[in-house]
Symmetry: none
Subunit: 362 residues, 2 copies
DNA sequence: TCAGAAACATTCAGATTCGAACAACGGAGG
DNA sequence: CCTCCGTTGTTCGAATCTGAATGTTTCTGA
């Protein structure tokens, strides 16, 4: 390595780490620890103090405290709004959305209260209720589970005392409420269409679709599948609804069955919902000597880890960051303009990232 | 290998790989590692940072972190765009959209070049071509006639050298072009649904729909009609496609025929596309002694002049101003962020303005 | 209360990095 | 085959980061 110095931002993180661990840090110690001059450490501390992440004291810094003398803040005024955000997962798919939302929030000067939930409606309600009861949020970005009695859940949501925007969810077309629910979501049907048309361009005529069982997006994927297969005049019958994620017991058997049926149907290409499932299939294929893409072309859906596969997998990438950002922008518009503003529903178009797993047939 | 350079996308992935492995990357190292210039690496990093996949720091990049100071607003680099706008009419429906667009343009500091056209595709092309040739506009808001060969028109439009957003128009779901066409439109299908459900709430069970022949929105209205009648379990068969505008010769005869068929079918309520047509029907009813709303309830569609009728007419009001405004905002985002921004499609929800012509039955 | 030591703020300079403008190249599509 | 468009590279002035020097403030203990 040409240089083992750290970037300013990394130093900031180390400072915060040290601070959280020790409760207080000294400039001199940090300078030695980080291998920079004391002046630099002071500058770091000043920058962090400006963000209220710590409190500057003579000789070092401590965790933020209200007791400290009111640092004269010259930054922009306090956040205009606080927006609650409840997402069903904090480790797959959603981090990109959250990060887009945070970026937009920072740009617009609003705060976000993030809550992780699960893909379970009871947990969703509990998290939402807590946010409401704390009386801290003026608006909510939600991605609730709408399986089961969607109407009832939507009714409950639309009776909440603050405006709500659904993220990556679409409620029934019409709701009893006076103000139609707003939503922002990726156009997954179009995403599948992009994938299928790409495979069709590559010469594939017998395709299969493997849907992640129980995922809220499955319905959209299936819709897009039927539409595009109809338009292209190719058989649309080979649709599986199985989770073949590696952490499922017996996932290898399931994959074997799927591949058997593909072989029987002369299928040469698969669209697989969720990268990890596609990974699992690819891995099984490698073990069985099924070559990708020669024997079976694969397009993954989500593009979370598709580039890590070998061969790198072609994938449909929903515009997650833009979805998060747009959600926040819509919410700010709603909060600023009030009920007068008519509702909007926004679809964002996914992108097809072409890699190696869908190479043209010879 | 004749060329070991990678495509931009592959480079992005290598950057992310390296980043995940090391936690931070240095521009200089990456440039050497990837065999490209530092500037290229910087551009890659900027692109990835725009997707919030990493945080840009002086000298390189780190994994995304919240500690980063909010990206400082680029100076008053006033992006003075000029946006061309071609609308099919300057005296009905469109003035409200244009005025919303103008308001947004003023707020965003951009200029609008407005051109009136007609509901005719040849005239549309002529106006668009002129705007392009003048080299004055950086983007176009269009509402072309898409009847007839829509695909051909869309192809032509998407080959224009500037970004295009369709206003109150929806092209076929998928287009051959690399970048899917963007649009902003009112959800007229939902508008009809609001009207029908309102009439249903008032006790009406036999409804009719009178569509303005040749209007581009008719298709959406018919779709919404079929859907909602199906959901409510009421007959959806009584749909007329006739223009009964007062300036049509013989419009009275047409109205008489429509009303005859309504009487025969036991219809007690009509949804009429376009206010002027609804006015004409209401006037004819007044002359014939058909009482509104006792004998026939009417909901007009468009809400341009519905409040002037006697009795004042209930009407569906598409959110015209917001459509215009959103179009401009989307265009400015597109021009500011370039092609990297994924396409969006926006539906805005109409509002039902309840007046006297749809009063409850006794 | 005062002196000395430590910590801090400010200024300046050097090195590095950044980004805009323009040129060159190569692929995609007509 | 050609043109157009997007990508990449080069140059150069501007911006940023870092640390040394220097003067000022704060802390500590007698």
């Amino acid at each position: 390595m040409s240089d083992d110095r750290l970037f300013g931002l990394q130093r900031h993180e180390r400072v915060m780490d040290e601070l959280r661990r020790e409760g207080a840090v000294r400039v001199k110690d940090l300078a030695e620890l980080l291998g920079v001059s004391e002046l630099t450490v002071r500058r770091d501390i000043a920058a962090l103090a400006a963000q209220n992440l710590l409190t500057k004291v003579h000789g070092g810094a401590t965790l933020p405290t209200e007791l400290a003398p009111p640092a004269r803040r010259r930054g922009p005024a306090a956040p205009r709004f606080t927006i609650g955000m409840v997402v069903p997962s904090l480790d797959y798919y959603w981090p990109a959305i959250v990060s887009g939302a945070r970026a937009a929030a920072a740009a617009l000067g609003v705060a976000i209260q993030l809550r992780g939930s699960s893909y379970d409606w009871a947990e969703d309600r509990r998290q939402i209720s807590r946010l409401i009861e704390a009386q801290q949020v003026q608006g909510l970005l939600l991605a609730p589970n709408l399986e089961g009695d969607a109407g009832e859940m939507i009714d409950w949501i639309s009776r909440l005392p603050v405006p709500v925007i659904l993220v990556e969810r679409q409620p029934p077309r019409w709701t009893r409420t006076k103000y139609q629910v707003e939503w922002v979501r990726s156009d997954h049907a179009l995403g599948v269409e992009l994938a299928v048309r790409h495979l069709h361009d590559q010469g594939h005529r017998h395709l299969g679709l493997l849907l992640s069982k129980g995922s809220p997006t499955s319905a959209h994927l299936a819709t897009g599948w039927d539409t595009v297969c109809g338009d292209l005049g190719i058989p649309a019958g080979l649709v599986f609804r199985e989770s073949v994620n590696m952490d499922r017991p017996g996932h290898r058997d399931t994959i074997a069955q799927v591949l058997d049926r593909c072989r029987a149907a002369g299928t040469t290409a698969l669209v697989i919902h969720s990268d990890p499932d596609a990974m699992a299939v690819a891995q099984y294929c490698a073990e069985q000597g099924i070559r990708i893409p020669e024997d079976l072309a694969i397009v993954a859906y989500d593009d979370e880890i598709a580039q890590l596969a070998d061969p790198a997998m072609t994938a449909v990438r929903p515009p997650k960051s833009l979805v998060g950002r747009t959600s926040v922008e819509q919410m700010v518009a709603r909060l600023t303009e009030g009920r007068r503003r008519p509702s909007q529903r926004i679809l964002t178009v996914p992108e097809l990232i072409i890699r190696d797993s869908s190479m043209a047939l010879r």
